[in-house]
Amino acid sequence: MSRVRGLLRGLVRAAQWLWLLAVLLVVWEVVARQAESLFIPPFSRIVVAFVDNWLSGDPASLFLSDQFWADVLPSLARLAAGYGLACAIGVVVGIVLGVWHQAGAFLNPLIRLGMSVPVTMLLPIAIVFFGITSGMNVSLIALGCLWPILVNTYDGVRGLDTVVTTTALSMRLSRRRYFLSVLLPGASPSIIAGMRISIGIALVLMVISELYAATSGLGFYIVEQQKLFRFPELWSAILLVALLGILFNAAFALLERSALRWHRGAKAGSERAS
């Protein structure tokens, strides 16, 4: 009985979250049908195109169509590579710069400069250096994602609660211990916030880096459909990108919550101790 009640409660919760979204989609449907614009088809038609394009495969390949495997997978792989690279470099450099203040001040203007240049502008340059290969896309994604992670890691390290750090000092923790038990957990909310912002940027760059000088991928598919004036297909790809974005966002929200819990717990612990 309580399980049923739990399920009902879950459904009510879901409805609370989703009713506005549903209303807006219905409005879209009605308006689009009335306006009969070729550029913005009714949502139902987009859903049909979406299923056709991406979900029409056989059960063996998870119902995902060949189109999906051919276009989306390479893009996602590049996204993962670029994002992973940015995380690795960003966290390491951010920590180094956060601890070594001179280096931080030295590189700060350059970092601000680097952040301000839209990566799209570097597309022709990337082609010169990497040619028309996946390396070009990966490097662009990595370069664009790097900054939020780097800056947030730096902020996280610098913003460590001084009570915690002085306590650690007085305990004469080894470098390693300090690093693992104080620095990383303390900075982790910032770091994860940076990583969350970056995944959004990674998604944007995944699409942009394929708008020209690419031979396959989701961004390539979007451009192709646009050039051929196939709007339902174009929108189905946009919808896919949106769903990917929602997925990544949700994953990071979960990660953030658990890291924050840890942080709060650690902080509460340290408060009790002092």
Partner: protein
Amino acid sequence: MGMRRAGAVMAFATVLLATACGGEDSSATGTASADGPTKVSVTTFGCEIWNTWAEAKGIYAKHGLQVEYVKSFGGSAAVAAVLSGAADFGYVNGFTAINAYNTGFPIQMVSGANVNALPPAEPAQGVFVKKGSSYKSAKDLVGKKIAVNEIGGINQIATSIWLEANGVSTDQVSFVALPYAEQVNAVNGDRVAAAQLGYALLGSGGADLRSLDDPFAALGKVYIATYVASKTFVAQGDTAKRFNDAMVETMKQLEDPANKDESFKLLSECSKVPAETLAAQPQNGLAPKVDFAALNDMAKKLVDLKMISKQPDLEPFVPAFARS
């Protein structure tokens, strides 16, 4: 923030939006003022020989037109410009125009411009590879990258047809979109195996390239460049007809051998490429009137390539004044 202030803020926002929307894109009027020429905006790649001639000789003015040029990247962007009102006449290749019409966009072809250079004329287009490379035929391009100006554009279509005619399936090559200047660099730098573009667009880097073949030779008569306009624009007044008349007159003068030197000189002033270089390049054919049969053939090729599902009825697409 009180409700009244919020309301005022909303009103302000609407006004801002309105001004932002009302912006410079309403320059395309196309309606004749009581006296004086009709202002029209035409998309351009930069410098087209009929434009430079018509401007210099006052042919547009003669037909009551004052032309404003809008830079466009060609192909679907030109159709977009026409449909959004950013331009009155869009400079676009025949295949893309048919594609757009077939999707249901309300455009009409108001003029031809270029057709491919058919034998015995020298080919004006090529599939270019590096001079020292080992590529000899279409078969050598299997598994390689071919650069074109636009995905789904005329260069890709022509190359696809050429490949199929030579026994290579389009699945066996990858097309990559690059701007023309980058294409030459990419071939020279071994980043792509080949690029399909016209001789006129090669630039200085073209000296190190050679052409495998003219992919348009297998196509028959194809409209490489045309002008389209929105249906509503064509319906209001006779501006579109006057544009076509101006094109006919301009191109007739351009065909006259006596005018050749001067026409290249005028073009050179615009494009900054020396006139002798321009004169030495193979030229596409000029065709201001649209050959309906040829257009239908082009549509059929699109069906063969499976780019469109069935042959569209092109009757409403080309108004009477534009047909040959």
